[in-house]
Structures are given as C-alpha cells and as structure tokens.
Assembly symmetry: C2
Homo-oligomer: 437 residues x 2
Amino acid sequence: MTSSAMRDLMAITERPEVISLAGGLPDTSTFPPELFAKVTAQMAAKVTAKALQYAPTEGMAATKDVIAEVMAAEGTEGIDPDDVLVTTGGQQVIDLVCKTLVDPGDIVIAEAPTYPGAVPSFSAYQADVVQIDMDEDGMKIDLLEETLDRLEAEGRRPKFIYTIPNFHNPGGVTMSLPRRQRLVSIARERELLVLEDNPYGLLRYEGEALPTLRSLDGGDFVIYLGTFSKILAPGLRIGWAVAPRPVLQKMNVGKQGADLNSSSMTQLFAAEYFSIPGQWRAYLDSLCELYRGRRDVMLEALAEHFPPEATWSTPHGGLFLWVTLPDYIDTTDLLARALQENVAFVPGRAAFLDGRGGSSMRLNFSMVGDADIREGVRRIGEVIREQVDFYGTLTGSHRTVAPQAEPAPAEVDPVLADVLHLPPRRADEQDTGRGSA
Amino acid sequence: MTSSAMRDLMAITERPEVISLAGGLPDTSTFPPELFAKVTAQMAAKVTAKALQYAPTEGMAATKDVIAEVMAAEGTEGIDPDDVLVTTGGQQVIDLVCKTLVDPGDIVIAEAPTYPGAVPSFSAYQADVVQIDMDEDGMKIDLLEETLDRLEAEGRRPKFIYTIPNFHNPGGVTMSLPRRQRLVSIARERELLVLEDNPYGLLRYEGEALPTLRSLDGGDFVIYLGTFSKILAPGLRIGWAVAPRPVLQKMNVGKQGADLNSSSMTQLFAAEYFSIPGQWRAYLDSLCELYRGRRDVMLEALAEHFPPEATWSTPHGGLFLWVTLPDYIDTTDLLARALQENVAFVPGRAAFLDGRGGSSMRLNFSMVGDADIREGVRRIGEVIREQVDFYGTLTGSHRTVAPQAEPAPAEVDPVLADVLHLPPRRADEQDTGRGSA
C-alpha cells in the first residue's frame, strides 16, 4: 500500500499561514448553523433512538428515498431503492468495488489523470491500473478501444473501467455526449463493468446537464457512485452505490465486514434535511453561485500570473482546475518551493500510477476566498517564473527581462517525498537532471 | 467472502411479531431525546462548519481526548492521542488490522467461539483462523501455547491473536488476571501481536474490573480496539484503535483508501456529549443497572424453561449469554423451528469458522424488556424440549412424562440456510442424521 498524497498533503497545509489550493473541500462555512440546529432538533423530536442505533447494512429506507430523489436530479430517473447501497462516503464505493472485483494483478482502466484518492485504493488491492488519456471531451474513447483490443490480444480482461464523466477530478473536463454513448456501447458489447463516479454532477456553473452513463446504460453494466459530500456535507460520510444486483450483494457483504453500516445519525440528518421543502435546491444554487465566482477569479488570476507556456482546463462545474506547465518543470519540486512561499497545490504525479503527470498540478477553487485565490495563484506563478527563468539561464533561451540570481533548486522535504511517493532527491541530482533536460 | 450470519439474521428478525434475542444491540431508547437535542444544539452553536467538513484521517483532536479519558476509565491510563486512530465503528478496526497484516492463507488465532461479526472480515482476507477453546476463565492459555508450538514446528507464524477478554461475545466469559498476564508474556516472548477487542469493558454488573491487556503490555504488542457503540451509541459509528506506531501508520493508510475519515459530525457529537460534566458516567450507570436486571431475568428464565441438559455462562457484564445444549441438538435447525414460534437467537455455528458450535446458541439480554425475555426464553425452551423428547423417542431414553406426537423435523429455509452459511438440508437427511447421532 502507498500513502494517499492528497490526504497527507492536507495535513501539511493545515498551517494557518498557508493558502491551500490543494484540498478538495466544499465550503461548509456556507451552511447556516440555524439550519443545522433546526434539522437536529427535528431529529431529536422524531428519531433519537433510531439515530443512535445500528442500521441495516444496505442503508435506511428514508435515506434511500432521498438518494433516489437526488439521482433523478442528477439525471437518472426511477432508481429502485433496493438497488442502492448506502456507504461511508463515496470513497467506500471505490474500496468495496475493488474489494469485490479485484484480485492482485487484475486490470482496472482509469483516466489519465485519475482521482488521487482512488490511487491508494487501487494500490491496496494491487490492481494493475491502465490509464487512458483525456482531452477537453473527457476520456479518449478511441484510445480506450485500442487499449481494450491490445489487452484482449494478451488474454487480459479489465475488471472495470473507472471514470468521472462530470467536471473531472483532477482534470476539470466533462465527457461529451457522443463519448458517453460510445463508452456505454463498448461496455455492453464487451460485457465490461463501468464505475461512474459522479460527486459533482449537480455543481454545474454553465451549459446543459448531460445524461449519466447509468441512465444511458439502464443499469446492466454501470455501477454508479453518488455522494452527499459536495451538495450537502462531507462530514456526514454518506455516499452510495447503485449497482447490478449480483455486484451489489457482494458489496453488501464486503461492507458488513468493513463497518457493519454507515452512521444512522448522519443518514437521518440527510433524510431530515432533504425533507424540508425547497431547502436543498436553494442551498445547492447558492453553492453553484459561490463556486462559479471563485472559478472565474481563479481563471483571471491564472491568465494574469502564470506564464504563457502554461495551459489549463476551463471547468464547467466541480471544484478543480488542471494546469499543465512546460515539461522541464517538475511540480513535485515546485511544491516544495511553493510551500516555502506558503501556498500549496496537488502535484500532478498524485493522479497517476505510472509516474506521469510530473509537469501538471491540480488547483482547487471551492474552499478559498477570492483574495486568497488571487494571492495563492500569484505566489505559484512567481515560483513557476523562477523555474522558467532558471531553465532559460541554463539553456540560453530565457525570454524574461533580466536574469535573476540563480535560485537554489529546492530540496524535496523527506516528509513531502513520502507524501508524494517519491524518493527524496538531492539538489545536485536535480541540477544534473535539469541541465540535461 | 461469506455473508455475516448475525447481520442478515437481524434483518429476518425485524418482523415486529418476533422476539429477537439474536441482536447485539444496546437499548438506545434509554437515551433522552432532550439530551440529544442539547448536544446537537451546542454543536450548532460552536462547530457547524467543522461537523460538516472532512476531518483528518486519524481523527479529530477533541474526539481523541475523549477517547483517552474513556480508555483511562477502561483501565488504560495515559494514552497518547497520537497513538489513536479513530475508526468507523470497532468493526473497522478488525477490517483494517486484517487489511494491514493478513495475506491469503495467513494464520489468525481467535477464541472458540469468536465474535460472529469478525468471521466475514477474517474470511474476506482469506485468513486461516485457528480457534482456541475457552472455559469460564476465558481463552485456555495452555492450549494456546500448545497450538503456537505446533504451528512453529510447521514453520507457521500467526499474524495476530484476536481476543475479547471482557464479557466475551458470544461466550459471556471474562479472561482471568493470571491468563491475561500469561497471554501478554507469551506475546512478548514470541513477538506476536494481540488484538484486544474491548467493547463492553465498562458494562460490568458485578465484580472488580481487571486490567486491560494493553495496560499490562504497555503498547508493544497489543492493538487495542475500543468503541462508543455500547457506552453511548452505535449509530455514531465511532470506534478506535490504539496500536504500535508502525502498525498504526499502515492502518491509517488503509483507512484513507477505505473511507478517508470517520464522520466529523458524529465525532463531534461524542466530544460534545463527553464534555458535559457527570453525564456519561451517569448514563453508563443507568445502562449497567438496566442490563444487570435483564441479565438476571434471563438467568431466571433459563433455569425455569431450559432442560437440565443445557448449560450456560453467567456473564458479569456485557450483552450476551452462551448456551450449550446436548450435542444431538443442532441449533441451526432449532432456529428454523424457533422462528416459526416467533423467537430468534444466533446459532452457535456463526461464531466458528471450523463448523463447530452446532449445539450452542448466543442469547442477547440488553435490547429486550423483561416480559419479552421471559416469553422468548420460554418459547425457545419449548422447541428444545420438543427436540429432547424427539431424541428420547428415537433412542428410548426419553425422560419426559408423556411421549408426544413426533414433530416433523424442520426444513431449513433456503434464505436462512444462506444466512447461516449452510446448504439447505432436506428433512429426510436430517432425520437420518439424527437417528444415527
């Protein structure tokens, strides 16, 4: 097992002086304490003993009804609550799907980049993860087919295809409708399971919603992962899976052994909250407005402070931007330097299992106020410029006004190296690496 | 993976007409709704945003402080909160310990019987479980040493020894002080890890508390499992592990992949609840008084309604009694018959991985009122008497007053057979089996 870069990095960046664009957190300070008090007071009056008791492993009926309602809003109508397994956050769905389907050495297909939090789950079950490149329309389905053909020729069959079609974490892109249709067709033709991870589907800031893979497929080959974490609160740790019955039953057994059931208290909190007429839609609208503004501020700041060599996604929803820098810049090294300037991001390598992503980074815009977004991006832009200038000095191709004093290549902090799955490298090794790049 | 007998059985026994002595539930109806309202109102005023947000994987500081306080009350003073991992119920500790330590085929030592809920966890990780018999002083340490010697001679080394020293689930017995001391010595001499599962330690109804294995060991070889489930509420899904650092770090990584962190909302509920002066001790005292009374009612009812061939443990605390019937009675068959009489228990086989336990049953006394305990035990006693009489008719040794009409041997319901990990048996096969027993 490897450690989760993202979670450990969060701990490092909890220092108050650090502007963290590294997290994946919704802004829960927007949730009114009076509303929290109202929901829990209703629970106290109606369901105290149930909220404190064990619950069925598959989840409580009231919570499953709410889940069916949310899934309809996400674009999948008519879900049967019996097809739902309530889980301890969306993360547990990934864990249980791996636990149920993956034996060591089995192939899992994922996007390149993929959700950094899935990396330790895939690793824990010793999956052999094959990552398929994306463009602005999401996973390249041509590449997927080529890969499946190649694997088939080798006699290897993936256990499932893991995808985040909406507002990809960390890629920031959304899979187009034609690609969704093709992916579902491929799954059907080849009888392959797809795990559709859709935490952000309702956090859309522009454009029209696209159908879920689950709705296109009808539930034969698509396992759906949903969660209340981004539309209500991650502190509930309530997510869910909707899966074909035989898979769902095995996941249920896996969940029994894992934690018996998810918290009754937080399941009933969700049920009570969603029962308040008009409430959840209004809160969701307020989140979309807030995050849309922050996304725009980040896009402006990137245009102002990042060098012209940098490119980034323009997400239509979700929480993240994906930035790619010139390939002579290593964002893992850059992070060490950025932390010295009290700013953090997730280096791209955390989103790959194959060592790629070294020149990319994930930036979060949901949790940070406008001023901090601007200042954080400015600071990162500054350390990037240092590297660009340094590279220019070495190669004679630098293009900025005045050569600066050569910055000392950052030593990778051993703790950080561990966080990022990397051996600590000495400054002189980095130097050599740079010079010959 | 096999299914968890206990959890599935709970679902079957949720029918309102069934008196279930099968559960392992504390009586959460004893928790005042006004107290729930008070605790959550304080949370709303102080920590709404935190309660709704992600938390560190290892757990929240306020919750860990409370855990250190509870562990001191349980007999382990001076725990460093940095040695604590907050988990999604005690069940997750078992899962994470297996995930961290067990490769397929590895040996785990457990008691005979062992916690039925651990069975699917051990099975999921394909542990080879060796079960050591108990008597009224808990695990027979002589047998343990013999087993360890035998395994060592075979070149096999257990990954850990799993034990429930206090008020064993399902055995109802408590490990004596000399055996605790010997177990800790053995662990130290042989450098073996021990997983001490202590959910019921504070639910003592008579006698003096004994030191925990963790306190005797000092933390070198003992992994401690604690939980709020039985002293506060299982609906929180908050348990914890205290483990040697290298093990704890690996469990932390495993937890990241499993569910990122346990619910912030329920962690803070616990922290807030335990901060009310005098509250948790007073509630615990009330639980002990209630459960002591129910235990006594069950002991009286057993003496009145069960045949003289039956024996049972007299637990000094906890939630369970373990009853052993004459070996010609199969409690799995008996359960099918008992459910026809609207009463349920956990058949002993669910507490073994090796097919033993066929003549035993676990009875719970914490969740059922006095009248239902009496009536439930009476009904079970009646179906046992049928079997005893039937056996007597077959063998000519029956000792009851008048021979009754021979009852039809119960067919095992297919659903139930699945629950109990058994192939459905036809009545004629049972018949033959009985006749030749």
